[in-house]
Symmetry: D2
Subunit: 300 residues, 4 copies
Amino acid sequence: MDNVPFKGIIAYPVTPFDDNEVVDIPLFKKQVERLVAAGSHGIAPLGSTGVLPYLNDAEKEAIAEATMKQVSGRVPTLVGVSNLTTEKTIYHAQFSEKAGATAVMIIPMSYWKLTDDEIVRHYDAVASKISIPIMAYNNPATGGVDMSPTLLKRLLEIPNVTMIKESTGDIQRMHYLRKELGEEVAFFNGSNPLALAAFTAGAAGWCTAAPNLIPELNIALYEAIQVNNLEKARKLFYQQVDLLKFIVAKGLPRSIKAGLDILGIGGGGFKSPLGPLSDHDIATLETILASVKSEEYQYQ
Amino acid sequence: MDNVPFKGIIAYPVTPFDDNEVVDIPLFKKQVERLVAAGSHGIAPLGSTGVLPYLNDAEKEAIAEATMKQVSGRVPTLVGVSNLTTEKTIYHAQFSEKAGATAVMIIPMSYWKLTDDEIVRHYDAVASKISIPIMAYNNPATGGVDMSPTLLKRLLEIPNVTMIKESTGDIQRMHYLRKELGEEVAFFNGSNPLALAAFTAGAAGWCTAAPNLIPELNIALYEAIQVNNLEKARKLFYQQVDLLKFIVAKGLPRSIKAGLDILGIGGGGFKSPLGPLSDHDIATLETILASVKSEEYQYQ
Amino acid sequence: MDNVPFKGIIAYPVTPFDDNEVVDIPLFKKQVERLVAAGSHGIAPLGSTGVLPYLNDAEKEAIAEATMKQVSGRVPTLVGVSNLTTEKTIYHAQFSEKAGATAVMIIPMSYWKLTDDEIVRHYDAVASKISIPIMAYNNPATGGVDMSPTLLKRLLEIPNVTMIKESTGDIQRMHYLRKELGEEVAFFNGSNPLALAAFTAGAAGWCTAAPNLIPELNIALYEAIQVNNLEKARKLFYQQVDLLKFIVAKGLPRSIKAGLDILGIGGGGFKSPLGPLSDHDIATLETILASVKSEEYQYQ
Amino acid sequence: MDNVPFKGIIAYPVTPFDDNEVVDIPLFKKQVERLVAAGSHGIAPLGSTGVLPYLNDAEKEAIAEATMKQVSGRVPTLVGVSNLTTEKTIYHAQFSEKAGATAVMIIPMSYWKLTDDEIVRHYDAVASKISIPIMAYNNPATGGVDMSPTLLKRLLEIPNVTMIKESTGDIQRMHYLRKELGEEVAFFNGSNPLALAAFTAGAAGWCTAAPNLIPELNIALYEAIQVNNLEKARKLFYQQVDLLKFIVAKGLPRSIKAGLDILGIGGGGFKSPLGPLSDHDIATLETILASVKSEEYQYQ
């Protein structure tokens, strides 16, 4: 697994806005600092959690630079640069490399369904313009394209496409990837409720927004797997699964920001039309968070 | 049906690019002129067919202005202004109104699934900033949101949301709309292969890219329905259905541009990562076009 | 269209049971008489509506014989003989022919998904043992198999397979059948809410349980299509669509029996585990039936 | 977990037929003997693998009795008794109890979709007539009903419904069951390609036809989980996953019988319309079987 700078828990920060829907950089840095301090193994700004597609160029660049400054080399960084057009994807990938990103993540966003050849040309065009590694991201639910294992194989032939993030939520897909692509290919799980099954299947890491709320539990799950302790991993997973399912069901930006408010850290505001969690859902989240933290099993 | 400036065949032009992926305005105007001259009842630039989400602000504005100039009031115009953020949707809606658009079309684009309240606020915010009517567009396949009839009812309470375009491709959905929203609400069909069934169900119009290739057949189908001649409508529909299915299956921008090339009008190029139809598909399209035009039934 | 003894409204009776879950033949005959007297163009016992798969051999035979006796040649009869095994399908097809059935209907029931070759052999084996025509029935929702147009083409090469009943509820499927199989093939619609669209698309008939409750409206819709009066057909369809949707949503045996009780004819009881409609749903059905019958538009 | 007589690998025999489509009892006994001798923890005749719905009463009874005679109390037996009607389900459940079955398995087979109340009454009626425990089986793909966790909770309130077999193939469903129903409820996995993920999630056993072909690998996987050795379990799983996927994709009766032929044991014939695997698929299965058995990792 050459040129794979990630493993373990890759934490996704949100993008907070102030009351005028302007990005709140000081709050963002505070949130990132907390993710690093908690022991996350990587930081991934401008993902779906960070509402990348809703941001303009200036906002994207401010978030990328703030991440580099705050992380300051303590852990590797993975910056989302996906865009509908190849031209803009290249633009943001080059900006990220210059800003100091360890790697970039690219999902083939699609309004009109792309052919396999178009997707390969897209990755190839971007890859040829940067020298840092690329994580190819498959998430039909948000990206609109479902990349087949055959297509992923073709992408992995591009020298700096070295990692795959799989978010279909289908564990059999991961089994298939592992069998088809071989043990040496690094694949990462992007489906929170699949965390246990994906590590069991051999995932190298877990791309997740959950560390904003329960970093210790996320990291403990990974560590139990590392020491081959399935029973402990299972207990840790069942301790956190209700929260993982809630944040996915309600939308990551909404639920993570509400959770950060509950925890006293501050989640920040939204960019319209996205808005906050309903009062009813906030109350449910409070109950789940309290329950997760009070369960008898201790992860230390 | 107050404030409903459309009926019949609403034609969607493509957005042609030159070899440097720059919008080709002269070719665009030529294509629009042909749609008007053929008898289309309305012109709708910057739709899905016009690859709206792939264009930057300057490109969108150039296309909107070129449309107004070329159509020059001969038929009403419907300009697509959808955007992920409310702020940009308002910006483009206001620009279109100033440029002379008859109405704007808005689909609630969604990367993160919006709640019904968020969608209503989105339309309400845009509607309050313009005075021309709005067509609310439902297309889960491209927009990622499926607006329920209940939600559409709420949208129709906003004074200048006066039209609905439905593209789920489910005819039973149109029956439901008609029963729930009442006969007085104008709904438009956006699913090409559903053209006959939708007119049968009472659709006021058909939003379609097909007039770029077979305007006479599209218009003749509408006219047969208008004179209550089902048998003629059925024959006309079966004459064109293979083409309608082909352009949907292969993607409208790709297949319409290829068809315009075949017809000698010129379709123009693409913006990456979108590319042209494969040679094999072009050959199939040639066969279908030749067959459509040679069938014995004459639509005059 | 040789050897096609059906057109128009083919009415499906229920199978009523007494309190001991024994088939109530006198009530069944009364229900059949009413369907014939109301002007149905054909009678189809032992369909899904008649809970065929829940009956034992003696019950099936009693229902088939009672139908022949009551109909007495006034209209053609279409008897359901589908069974998981080829052996039993042949048995019931031969019994029906001897009892005087005009034709038999066969859906390739499937617990284990059958290959195309297995389905062709199944129809071929049955067809070779009887001399009356066969209607091949496609309904993935109840049968578990979705027969492709290619497969249907193969089935139509068997001499006495002469009719197709299509119940996928997808109007585009009917368009495809018509285009692929040619105008001379008789296809019948088995999806109630698709009645208008299917006749518009050229269906020869409508296989439906609705005549148990609203025979005049069903027949009037067919007649409006026959005289090429789309406007009248549309009005008649919207008058009955709520009822058509209700009976499908709640299950045909349950809702038709409840409707027959409301109309004072008597629907009869059920065979466990199937049971009656809930009180709440019965109240809804009463409201719909009253509304259907009171609407201003008169179908005479 | 009271009254739960199963754990580990519950092996499903096929039902072999001779050339006249008559059940081949001697071959069946030989196949069962092999499953017991190989170390299976339970034997489950008359499942989907055993083509239960295609058998008549006499065939079902012969298979049940032959199983009891051959197994002779060495391991517990689980007999499938599902039927569309409650009356016949009771009949077969009572027969199985008298024949000596340890427990019965019941899926709520459904042609017409059953309500939750109807399903509860169905299980309740059967449970009240027997004294051995019942495994409730959820498999929407073959049974046509998807029982919600809420419904499963209601079923578990019936005293002798003590086990759940889940075959939706969705690992998140198992997480939900475990969280909602509590650790004390015994749930069994019925989806072969989910074997590793289901054991990881805490499944008590694996209901599978695979031991007909690779019993040592199936048992070794279970044992690795028992000793908390995730790494070993993962290796064993990846060694067998291609076979597990193949037998599911091609249909269990077809592929298991072909595999038994390849292994020299003899799979027996089929009941029409079901037929054998194609020559091409048989060749693929030979390759997969050879590869599974030759892989370097040894499971002893």
